[in-house]
Symmetry: C2
Amino acid sequence: MATSYLNSNADGPRTLVDKVYVQLRAAIMDGDIEPGAKISEPELAKNFGVSRSSLREAIAKLESSNLVERQANVGARVVTLSNESLLEIYQVRESLEGLAARLAAENMTDAEIEHLHSLLNLQSKCGKSISRAEYKSVDFDFHYCIVLGSHNERLIRMLSRDLFELVHFYRKKFSGSGPRPDQALIEHTEIVAAIARRDGEMAEVMMRHHIRAAREHAKKSFTSEHHTIPGSLDK
Amino acid sequence: MATSYLNSNADGPRTLVDKVYVQLRAAIMDGDIEPGAKISEPELAKNFGVSRSSLREAIAKLESSNLVERQANVGARVVTLSNESLLEIYQVRESLEGLAARLAAENMTDAEIEHLHSLLNLQSKCGKSISRAEYKSVDFDFHYCIVLGSHNERLIRMLSRDLFELVHFYRKKFSGSGPRPDQALIEHTEIVAAIARRDGEMAEVMMRHHIRAAREHAKKSFTSEHHTIPGSLDK
DNA sequence: TGCGACGGTATTGTCGACAATCTGCCCAAA
DNA sequence: TTTGGGCAGATTGTCGACAATACCGTCGCA
């Protein structure tokens, strides 16, 4: 019931390339492959036990998910995570998820709103007796639920395909700059209330505020953090 | 000097796949391949004179540009353009380009603002003595210039890679619901003024208004248009 | 000693062939 | 006549090999 969104493929990867894609993505997100590290096609193909063609196609998918960058005749590298690009992502999220919240208030079905309430309950109940990873999962499901509630396919695809995987990536990497569980719960509650009363304007305002607060929180933890990023020194 | 944005590759395609990608994209946008049409790998590979592998990689890129959709073991089809999805795109653009305008007001260099002015001049001078295609090109350069002026790499990539090609596609297809040149020029002028005086809030408001107006214009022309889309009848 | 050309090695780009899956048609049974 | 299964053709998925390019250490020369 948790786990949520990473399985956009209905029932398991249907093709070899998909399997490799999922595994490679996990390897990147878990840090088994360092950010900025080169991706060697022959080596990885052997590791996964597939041909280079399949691996190349998987890499292409990773590239379209913004997790790796390719250069012609040179190769692919895992993206490097800079503080600046994280702040950029927050800016885009503020705009896009604000839109999602407004549309969700207008378009969500009653059943969807009910589900949103249950997610909120879950979040408030487990309180602090929960690991950081679990908290992040709950928090993520909440945001994702609202995005789905927008009923705007284009918006859903842009957020889930192009942004959320990067967000996950960052969260795994910067496990510092921890969440603000208490404040976040309050803000989530306000957002749900606005959606439930079909107040799109307010839902958008609250969501934007919520994300901007998270951005400022991250920003602050950067400046106090000596300006260095773990893993940013290797060429 | 126009032509503008479609050449994100610095100096021509460096690889075969890129060449095929560019040609295929052009073929789709020019309507040489109908929306919703199936893409046969063996046939197209022969037409382009390349192997299926290269063609497949090009198709994967098209898919990440949202111009084709693939299904495992079935094949790829050119996306179908529905009125609803066009309206969805307008919604996302309103949010994202609004953000771009605000950031542009904050971050554009004086030289960039100067360039923006020159684009505006160009648009106002040629007036009506200009073909529709040329007008669209000028209009597009204007929007793209502001997006670049945001100096937010993530935003730039999302707009240009994931949205603008679709926008072009729609414009080529629905050449009806023509532009509103006079009104658009007024709105563009206001946006530039706001940016030039570094008024981010106002720039965002104006840009959102501008795009919402275009959306309403398109919506209106749909309802008056008998509810049919050209080329939507073939399975 | 430092700089630039050269060559070997490894990696990426491209290709054609084989295997797995789907599509459409035909035929048989109810 | 209709429905279901199965066969044949075509299309997609996967693979390994060859060609082109980039990387790196060496050598020669100023």
